[in-house]
């Protein structure tokens, strides 16, 4: 399986579904922090694993806090929500209140970050599942702190023998609170094939 299996039309369809999903997620986040959330245009690439690492390293250089959540159903994968240290703390303070002035992510801050990520990722993927008439079950969110290579540990991710990776990225930000986050998606080859089948079924409705 090569990257060109994921054609421009599939990219367009998945980007738009992701755009709608993140729009829903932005409403949830906006309500939590009482501020407007700015969203970028989503970008999507189907690449090999090393190229994916390089893309993520460019998008999120240095140490990151990544909340990882698996999803399973007609297709499966792992969704990641990245924040740098400052954004993580600012986000937690926005939700827990300004009294929370810890200079690092303690246990409570980590729990808060996981929960807000859980809400964002579920809003996004729940919406995509609804549109595609699929059922996606999400796993328990986990927080990984470290360099991108540690977050995307190929052995832990279990992405199979043909590690073609779908990197789907969209950045959201709250300018007044200096918070920037990025949602990314990583899927193995077999699952990408199943996703393509779902996208084909969906787009046929409108041809």
């Amino acid at each position: 399986m090569t990257a060109d299996i994921f054609t421009e039309d599939y990219c367009d369809t998945l980007c738009e579904l992701f755009n709608i999903g993140m729009g829903r997620a932005a409403v949830s986040l906006s309500e939590m922090v009482d501020d407007e959330v700015l969203l970028t245009v989503p970008s999507l690439k189907a690449v090999d694993f090393n190229t994916a690492l390089s893309i993520f390293n460019t998008n999120s250089p240095g140490k990151v806090n990544a909340v990882e959540q698996s999803f399973e159903g007609q297709f499966s994968g792992n969704a990641f929500l990245f924040f740098n240290d400052e954004s993580s703390l600012q986000l937690v303070r926005s939700i827990l209140g300004e009294d929370s002035w810890s200079s690092e992510l303690g246990e409570m801050e980590q729990e808060a970050l996981k929960e807000v990520s859980n809400i964002i990722l579920n809003a996004c993927f729940g919406c995509i599942a609804d549109i595609l008439s699929c059922e996606l079950e999400s796993g328990v969110p986990g927080l990984i702190t470290g360099e991108i290579n540690e977050v995307f540990d190929i052995d832990r991710l279990c992405i199979g023998d043909e590690p073609l990776v779908l990197t789907l990225s969209m950045t959201f930000s709250l300018p007044s609170k200096k918070i920037t986050g990025q949602v990314s998606l990583i899927m193995a080859s077999e699952s990408i094939k199943r996703l393509i089948a779902e996208l084909e079924r969906f787009t046929t409705l409108y041809v």
Binding site: E16, N19, I20, G21, G23, T40, I131, T203, Y206
Partner: protein, 121 residues
């Protein structure tokens, strides 16, 4: 609603342009539909011909729908402009409504398209 109308569909997603076009054609076979894949194309289209309806996306790669809405309104004061966007935050909706546009949150469905196309009648 027998007289033929013209519609400009502005969205960077081909899928969304297909959905809007298909839903309009389902009800209005004779309507002329023009597609624009970004803000630049949209501005070029409104310079060339008049439209009765313009569906406008917000989050596009070159300029946002909010950026070009005043230009579209100025160029086509008679057109009914509907914003079709995934960014459904209340503050975003209000910003567009303050400029006189009607706001529709994605995903797009048939009822939305019927409301949008009946507005200009």
């Amino acid at each position: 609603m027998d007289s033929s109308k013209s519609v400009l569909v502005v969205d960077d997603s081909r899928l969304t342009r297909m959905i809007i076009t298909k839903l309009i054609r389902t009800h209005f076979v004779d309507w002329k539909i023009t597609e624009a894949a970004n803000a630049k194309e949209a501005l070029a289209c409104v310079d060339k011909e008049p439209f009765d309806f313009i569906s406008l996306d917000h989050n596009m790669p070159d300029r946002t729908g909010y950026d070009i809405l005043p230009l579209l309104t100025q160029s086509q004061p008679m057109a009914h402009i509907g914003i079709f966007t995934a960014n459904i935050q209340a503050v975003v909706r209000k910003r567009f409504e303050d400029l006189g546009a009607t706001f529709y949150g994605k995903p797009i469905n048939e009822a939305m398209i019927l409301r949008f196309t009946n507005r200009g009648e």
